[in-house]
């Protein structure tokens, strides 16, 4: 093919494409008006920036809650481990004393250390408990995000219904059947019972085993 012929063909294709997009857009607008959906779609389009804000809020709130709980665990764990190792140490010293209970000076030191430990326990368990409360309180995100998500679902539902209607009204009959997703990145299975997905870890293991992995 000569260069000129090639350019001409390119030009034609681009023109054709533009023509088709123009035609589709006109068809879509007419379709929307006929269906009385033009106002609904405008409303839905307006709701989308708001929806984006809501999603950002959900993401930020849940992340904050997770960090809050993890921070509390970071504080509580060393306290807990300290209590356990102190108790273990004292217990070992008591075992040794019971095996050979003669050195009185040693025993006195052991009694004082044990007394000190016992006095410390309530203070340390209180500190751990306040971290547990912090973890408890961090779960309040569920309520906050739950409400926002509920509102979001209404918006999404509206947009979906309207767009789907437009799509169905404007697609050729043979295409109407095959509007299915075919991607490997779908995220968590939100509705249980999908036959194409696994429901738990044991099903993952079974599938892999059946394939010989």
């Amino acid at each position: 093919m000569s260069k000129n012929a090639f350019d001409a063909e390119q030009g034609n294709t681009a023109e054709e494409l533009l023509g088709r997009i123009g035609q589709l857009t006109r068809q879509l607008r007419e379709g929307l008006r006929e269906l009385g959906l033009d106002k609904e779609v405008a409303k839905a389009a307006q709701a989308i920036p708001d929806a984006r804000d809501r999603l950002a809020y959900v993401a930020a709130t849940t992340e904050r809650a997770a960090h809050r709980a993890l921070n509390a665990i970071d504080v509580a764990q060393p306290l807990q481990e300290g209590l356990a190792s102190d108790a273990k140490g004292l217990s070992k010293r008591w075992d040794e004393w019971f095996a050979d209970p003669i050195e009185l000076d040693h025993a006195r030191e052991l009694v004082m250390d044990t007394r000190g430990f016992l006095q410390d326990v309530p203070q340390k368990t209180n500190a751990i408990n306040s971290q547990l409360m912090e973890i408890l309180m961090a779960q309040d995100f569920q309520d906050l995000t739950g409400q926002v998500i509920k509102k979001m679902m209404e918006v999404v539902n509206d947009v979906e219904t309207q767009l789907l209607q437009v799509l169905i009204d404007n697609s050729p009959a043979e295409k109407r059947q095959e509007i299915v997703s075919n991607s490997l990145q779908n995220g968590p299975q939100i509705v249980p019972g999908n036959p194409d997905a696994v429901a738990d870890q044991s099903q993952v293991d079974d599938l892999l085993e059946s394939l010989g992995f």
């Binding site: 849940t62 993890l70 779908n186 995220g187 870890q201 993952v204 599938l207 394939l211």
Partner: protein, 130 residues
């Protein structure tokens, strides 16, 4: 016996999930843990350091976990590195695709500490045998 000093890379775009996995690994006494926020950053870290194990999410920006896994398997230096996928992707075709790409294990989110431990132990046992 598993060598607990082995260097592990946790790849996930959510910092909270990286923290949770890191904490679970700490609970299992794996203390030598590094993190990356996506597959591209993960590959870069893997090429720079002597990692012995990778725990990776699937759905991430820039480069997803499957692509990272394929890149690891295609790399002569990293080819044999054990990779455990920990992901919310629960479709059967995902699990098959990961296995075919050479994943050593597959854990679906949400998961428990016990599941993670079981899979890691199994991977190391298999590696020790073969």
């Amino acid at each position: 016996m598993i060598d607990k000093s082995i260097k592990i890379l946790v790849v996930d775009d959510f910092p909270t999930m990286r923290r949770i996995v890191r904490n679970l690994l700490k609970e299992l006494e794996f203390l030598n843990v590094d993190e990356a926020e996506d597959g591209a950053a993960g590959l870069e870290k893997l090429r720079g350091g002597s990692f012995g194990f990778v725990v990776s999410d699937w759905n991430m920006p820039n480069m997803d976990g499957l692509t990272m896994l394929q890149n690891i398997r295609a790399d002569p230096e990293l080819g044999k590195l054990p990779v455990l996928m920990v992901t919310a992707e629960a479709k059967k075709e995902n699990i098959v695709a990961a296995a075919q790409a050479g994943a050593n294990g597959y854990v679906v989110k949400p998961f428990t500490a016990a599941t993670l431990e079981e899979k890691i132990t199994k991977i190391f046992e298999k590696l020790a045998k073969g």
